[in-house]
């Protein structure tokens, strides 16, 4: 049993939780993830470790309430317990050798994964520019946190209601064209965003790392559900990743695979809306 020590709503759909998990906190590194199971009948759901505090023995998770399990998790409060939390899983983010300047791009709730990576780079003395993209002003998250671990933070919104109007790729291109020499770009967000970022950067020949979020069960290489094609080879995101060279990832295949349970998820979403008292999500 893992106690929820702190809960904060980052926006109407995204929640931050600090969980008492001393053993995981002791080992966790940026880029790794945990798998939680909310109760005896719950599924196993992976979430990136958004932050950790080794002294306090806590790990922070940030999640968007999109599926049944994340919605149920969102119903829990400080003092409540999560039945299972296992981790840290996956390979930690490797800071590219000799990298002096890195652009970290977060899309929406992907900022929860981009933030710890930016922080790790920043703490390692790398110059970090963060570009954080959101659909609109209302769903901007982690602005202060990301600003604290970057030289420059650029917020973009699709509708221009906050920061610069446009997509993260527009801002990235603008920065590169303005003469910023990035040794590496780290892009984390919805699969189409990561695909688009890679396509934009490819002509510049800049190394691009993406963090993938395929469907998985165990997180230890056992089910093979999270297999992704990277450089023509099958990799397991849980043990070989979740970080991969973005220029090598077959994003289209990943999008197909991630849609495997869409109909059942839709059905669950409608179902849960009733049990949680009519919570609706766009």
């Amino acid at each position: 049993m893992f106690k929820i020590l702190r809960k904060r709503e980052l926006n109407s759909q995204v929640t931050l939780m600090v969980i008492d998990a001393p053993l995981i906190a002791k080992k966790a590194l940026a880029g790794q993830f945990i798998i939680f199971r909310i109760d005896e009948k719950g599924e196993r759901v992976p979430l990136t470790v958004a932050d950790y505090d080794r002294d306090a023995g806590t790990v922070t998770i940030i999640f968007q309430k999109v599926g049944r399990s994340t919605m149920l998790l969102g119903e829990l409060n400080e003092g409540d317990y999560i039945l299972d939390v296992v981790g840290p899983l996956g390979v930690p983010t490797e800071i590219p050798e000799g990298a002096k300047k890195v652009a970290v791009i977060g899309g929406g709730v992907g900022c929860a994964i981009a933030y710890p990576q930016a922080k790790a780079l920043y703490n390692a003395g790398v110059e970090v520019d963060v570009i954080a993209g959101f659909r609109n002003k209302d769903i901007v998250i982690l602005e202060d946190e990301m600003r604290a671990v970057s030289k420059n933070l650029y917020v973009t919104t699709d509708d221009g209601s906050y920061g610069t109007k446009g997509f993260v790729t527009d801002k990235l291109k603008e920065l590169i064209d303005a003469g910023n020499k990035y040794d590496c770009v780290i892009a984390i967000g919805p699969v189409p965003m990561m695909k688009f970022v890679c396509a934009v950067i490819k002509p510049y020949g800049i190394k691009t790392i993406v963090s993938l979020n395929p469907i998985m069960i165990d997180g230890t290489g056992m089910c093979g559900g999270c297999r992704v094609r990277v450089g023509g080879k099958i990799k397991y995101a849980c043990v070989d990743g979740p970080d991969f060279d973005g220029h090598e990832v077959d994003f289209d295949e990943l999008m197909h695979r991630n849609s495997a349970y869409r109909e059942q998820e839709q059905h669950d979403r409608e179902h849960i809306c009733r049990i949680t008292g009519g919570v609706r999500h766009a």
Binding site: I24, K27, L83, V86, D218, T220, G224, G225, H256
Partner: protein, 461 residues
């Protein structure tokens, strides 16, 4: 005078048409009368060939003798002296290639139903056996990584000797393949849980959600005061064929399909884990895992389930009873058939599997017949899901995080005759050493390792 009835005493089974749609156990336990009738078929041979066929040397004629005398607790005790998990082994051991293959009765007629009798004793005692007494702690602690058959049997033997044993399990539930792999209809999870609970009563500490290699390394286990470590992490990494189309939606490893079903209970409505419900499914492979996946698919509502196996029925490695049950339930066996490609629709979902016909070649050095494709024999089977059950490999999590642990080219730990790895105090056994094999072999390895660990720690003093 022994009962000379030529066939094994029949066991009551659910009607195939009914059971193909439920997850309840297929076979019932012998009644007292049936068990006695079957026990009377044993000739109580002096040289006990059956015992030699058992990887853990269960004293078979002795326990059967006790059944004949009506003393089931004594029969059970005899089994338990060498086999910690009789309720499991009675159900899932490949008896036809082990104990029962050596049975003298089997030369002319059917062998004694040793597996069924073993299960009878275990089930009979399930709610009668007194809780084991917790032995006095001998002051030494041993860590066991993995709670599958090898880990459980190693833990059981060490705990009985007074060791403080901690079992680390990566999943949220202990039992390993017995929980995630073998389906409820073949091995009820309550049966496995009872065995795990028995270990706890012996004082074994079970820590779930602990992925050793990640949250703690093997070296850190020693730092925490464990004097020896047993690695029984199994062979959990699913193999794929490497053919086109394996990334389509609707292609699963048997591990994924079975884990969703068995461990996560996706077949029950009130559990959250989703599982793909398909119309027609091809399961590739001919082992027990393939049978389990195919029969689970049927129970999950598929109209048509195929087993696609590249050799013939004779070479099929699955337990005979499982094949028999699968045939009864209506699984369509396509022998000498090998997939060459999985075909998808415009949405990236499986629509068919393209196969070619194979023919048998002469036996190789191991005596197993090979196969070669028949030119121009390709054809398609209309399916909307494919399950790959073509074997598994050991998990790299421990070997990649533990310096000095030697593994072979297949990723299996290299051990000596005492199950000792290349690191002092680190022992390994089960599928992590042999590659995918059977429950009973893994249990045997766990037992051998327990004996070796005991000797190692005693000599260290």
């Amino acid at each position: 005078m022994p009962n000379m009835q030529p066939e094994k005493t029949a066991v009551r089974e659910q009607d195939p048409k009914v059971r193909a749609h439920n997850f309840d156990e297929v076979s019932s336990c012998y009644t007292d009368e049936e068990a006695l009738n079957e026990a009377n078929r044993c000739l109580n041979c002096k040289n006990k060939p059956c015992v030699g066929g058992c990887p853990v040397g269960v004293r078979i004629p002795e326990f059967i003798e006790k059944i004949r005398e009506g003393d089931i607790p004594a029969a059970y005790d005899i089994i338990k002296t060498t086999n910690g998990l009789p309720a499991v082994c009675g159900r899932v051991c490949p008896q036809e290639s082990q104990c029962e293959s050596k049975c003298v009765r089997g030369i002319k007629t059917e062998p004694v139903g040793i597996g069924r009798l073993e299960r009878y004793c275990a089930d009979y005692m399930a709610d009668k056996a007194p809780a084991p007494e917790k032995p006095e702690f001998n002051g030494h602690r041993v860590a066991i990584v993995g709670s599958g058959p090898s880990g459980l049997s190693c833990a059981s033997d060490l705990a009985k000797l007074g060791y403080g044993v901690t079992v680390f399990e990566a999943f949220h539930t202990a039992g390993g393949v017995l929980m995630y792999g073998i389906p409820e209809f073949r091995l009820p999870k309550a049966t496995v849980q009872r065995e795990v609970d028995g270990l706890k009563a012996l004082g074994v500490e079970i820590r779930t959600d602990m992925v050793i290699g990640k949250i703690l390394s093997v070296d850190e286990l020693f730092e925490q005061g464990y004097e020896a470590v047993f690695i029984g992490t199994g062979a959990g990494l699913p193999n794929f064929m490497g053919i086109e189309g394996e990334s389509l939606v609707g292609v699963f490893s048997a591990n994924e399909y079975l884990t969703r079903t068995n461990l996560m209970k996706a077949y029950l409505d009130d559990y959250d884990t989703p599982i793909s419900r398909n119309r027609a499914i091809a399961v590739v492979g001919g082992g027990n895992v393939a049978m389990d996946a195919a029969r689970s698919a049927l129970r999950l509502g598929a109209d048509k389930v195929y087993i696609v196996y590249r050799r013939s029925a004779e070479e099929m490695p699955a337990r005979r009873e499982e094949v028999h049950h699968a045939v009864q339930e209506g699984i369509d066996f396509r022998y000498l058939t090998n997939p060459v490609e999985i075909l998808g629709d415009e949405n990236g979902r499986v629509r068919a599997i393209r196969c070619q016909k194979m023919e048998l070649t002469e036996p190789d050095q191991s005596g197993r017949r090979g196969v070669k494709p028949i030119a121009g024999s390709e054809f398609e089977i209309d399916v909307d899901a494919v399950i790959m059950a073509i074997g598994t490999s050991p998990n790299p999590l421990i070997r990649s995080t533990t310096p000095g642990l030697e593994t072979n080219r297949r990723g299996c730990f290299v051990v000596d005759e005492n199950m000792l790895t290349s690191r002092e105090g680190v022992y390994a056994g089960g599928d992590a050493v042999t590659g995918a094999a059977t429950v009973i072999l893994a249990m045997g390895a766990g037992k051998s390792a327990a004996a070796a660990i005991d000797e190692y720690i005693r000599n260290k003093k």
